[in-house]
């Protein structure tokens, strides 16, 4: 498979802050590569460097097989990008916004009709074609901006948290669309705070404090966890009602909510019976199970262990 982004040891400083500390990553044709990590991990910075919107302080990178120092214009013209903070023409209608992006990318008219129809199926904005973008709801604006980013036919797409504020059904439809693009050979680099979306990627890089702290096929990332994970539940009670008690008992370990349950991550192995003994003071109905960690668990455990930084 052809590689569309190949970055090696990327460094970036903002003043005294080390935003990126030796990032190496690769994005291939016909695949979806995910970037996950807490606020301030450096995901957006890495994306902007790939797009030549920011200068790197060290390392090397090639995008679409060209040297990004010499061919900035080529890269900017041939990569589709959806920034985290996007802008729409709020006094133009939905249709006019789409049409604008079509015009600047000099697309074929027939191609436009086809794309437009596909994008409306996802965004459900067809009934709002004549509505001014400024009076759309938050999620509708996000979907319109996404549609604009997908309006041209790039080989490489860079999407920075594209589904923020998008409802669960539209998110599902959006990922269906990304898969179609992938099948057509497009390479996609996408960041997301939704772990269920990270699972839909072919390959994931987990970032924290400017470094990559884990990488692999999403299902395999959880296998690298060496400690043990336990799950607590009290039928008919909410997790917040016994969270703080568990935090007290397991001070120093990672205790966090997960849906209706509370998860406990221990660095070493500990017997289930020991865990039971330690929690006898809680509700007699308390259920304890050993659990295989999911991606979200791994994310939280890793970040809690290292702490996170605060700037992106």
């Amino acid at each position: 498979m052809n590689s569309l982004i190949k970055a090696e040891g990327i460094e970036k400083k903002f003043g005294t802050v080390n935003a990126l500390r030796g990032i190496s990553l690769e994005v291939s044709e016909g695949s979806i590569t995910g970037l996950i990590g807490p606020d301030g991990a450096g995901k957006s910075t890495m994306m902007k460097i790939a797009l030549t919107l920011l200068k790197r302080d060290g390392g090397s990178i090639s995008v679409l097989s060209v040297n990004s120092d010499n061919d900035k214009t080529f890269i900017r013209q041939n990569v589709g990008y959806m920034p985290e903070i996007f802008s729409l023409y709020t006094d133009l209608t939905v249709e006019e916004n789409l049409n604008f992006y079509f015009t600047i990318h000099k697309m074929d008219k027939q191609d436009y009709e086809k794309k437009r129809e596909r994008l409306y199926r996802f965004s459900r904005l067809e009934a709002f074609t004549n509505t001014k973008a400024g009076s759309l709801s938050g999620g509708m604006k996000q979907k319109l901006a996404l549609s604009c980013a997908l309006m041209h036919d790039p080989k490489l797409l860079i999407l920075d948290e594209p589904t923020t504020g998008v409802d669960p059904l539209s998110r599902q439809e959006f990922w269906g669309m990304l898969h179609e693009l992938k099948e057509e050979g497009v390479g996609i680099l996408v960041s997301t705070p939704y772990m269920e979306e990270a699972l839909k990627c072919d390959f994931v890089y987990m970032m924290n404090k400017g470094k990559i702290i884990g990488e692999g096929i999403p299902e395999n990332l959880s296998e690298e966890f060496e400690g043990s994970l336990y799950e607590f539940e009290i039928p008919g009670r909410k997790p917040q009602e016994f969270l703080s008690e568990l935090k007290q008992i397991f001070r120093g370990d990672s205790v966090f909510m997960s849906g209706k349950k509370v998860h406990l991550a221990l660095r070493g192995a500990e017997e289930l019976s020991d865990i039971r003994t330690k929690t006898t003071s809680l509700d007699p109905e308390l259920l304890v199970r050993k659990k295989v960690p999911e991606l979200e668990d791994i994310f939280i455990i890793r970040v809690l262990a290292e702490g996170s930084d605060g700037n992106d």
Binding site: G37, P168, S170, G259
Partner: protein, 252 residues
């Protein structure tokens, strides 16, 4: 209609039209004192529009809301004192420091100076930062901005709190911290109405309402909603609820 005596919010036949377009189409429901009420729905369903009417920021086309027994239509100013509102793209002054933001919002609500000071040090302690003075709000990580937004909405100590997508754009850890704060407030008997597109968060609510196309199509506990749509999780239940409602509308 079911009787709920301890309703602090009572929405009756609420309608909002923008020109010919009906954004909120005759919704009625009650929210009980002290509950965490999750307001879910498809994009554009009308959640933000409904919340803005409940908070007295947008005039309904018809219908009314009682907040703690006070009609929003008759006394919007009285209602505003009782509620805190954090908007979807909340309006902090990003070029000011967090401290100045709190002063500003405190002034608007006429909160006493020493009370503001107390709240500032509480927030600094929660966020584990030495001071809220020397940084620009724009430079704060998203999770911190949301917490500051919440602190500003709480300055006048309201009984009822409206949070419109408080965790959009916040990472998994930040979202959990935010929810722990929601529970702390709920434990103080405050009523909280919150919108979210994260279905694991909806799981933490006492009651959830799902909106589609201006209407409330479901209102029940998370468990009953999952049962109704025979789904193992709320994400699947949500998707089914919206798909079924769309199908019903197309058939009509």
């Amino acid at each position: 209609m079911e009787m709920i005596d301890d309703a602090v919010i009572n929405i009756e036949n609420l309608v909002k039209k923008f020109g010919k377009f009906t954004a909120v189409n005759n919704i009625s429901f009650k929210v009980r004192k002290g509950e965490v009420f999750g307001f879910l729905g498809a994009n554009g369903a009308g959640k933000t529009t409904a919340i803005r009417m409940i908070c007295g920021l947008l005039e309904p086309t018809s219908g009314d809301i009682q907040v703690s027994g006070i009609s929003v239509k008759k006394s919007p100013e009285k209602v505003k004192q009782k509620i805190g509102y954090m908007s979807q793209k909340f309006s902090l002054y990003t070029d000011l420091s967090p401290e100045r933001n709190m002063d500003f919002f405190g002034d608007i609500y006429g909160v006493a100076k020493d009370e503001i000071k107390k709240k500032k040090s509480f927030l600094a302690q929660q966020l584990d930062v030495p001071s809220l003075k020397s940084i620009k709000t724009a430079d704060l990580p998203m999770g911190f901005k949301q917490r500051l937004g919440l602190a500003c909405a709480l300055l006048h100590d309201p009984d009822i709190i409206f949070l419109d997508e408080p965790t959009s754009g916040v990472d998994p850890l930040g979202r959990r911290e935010f929810w722990e704060e929601i529970y702390r407030l709920s434990g103080m008997d405050k009523t909280i109405m919150v919108t979210t597109h994260f279905m694991d968060e909806a799981e933490y609510c006492d009651t959830i309402a799902i909106m589609n196309f201006g209407r409330v199509i479901d209102i029940a506990s998370p468990d009953s909603i999952k049962k109704k749509y025979s789904s193992a999780n709320l994400n699947d239940a949500f998707i089914r609820a919206i798909e079924m409602d769309r199908k019903k509308m197309e058939d009509n």
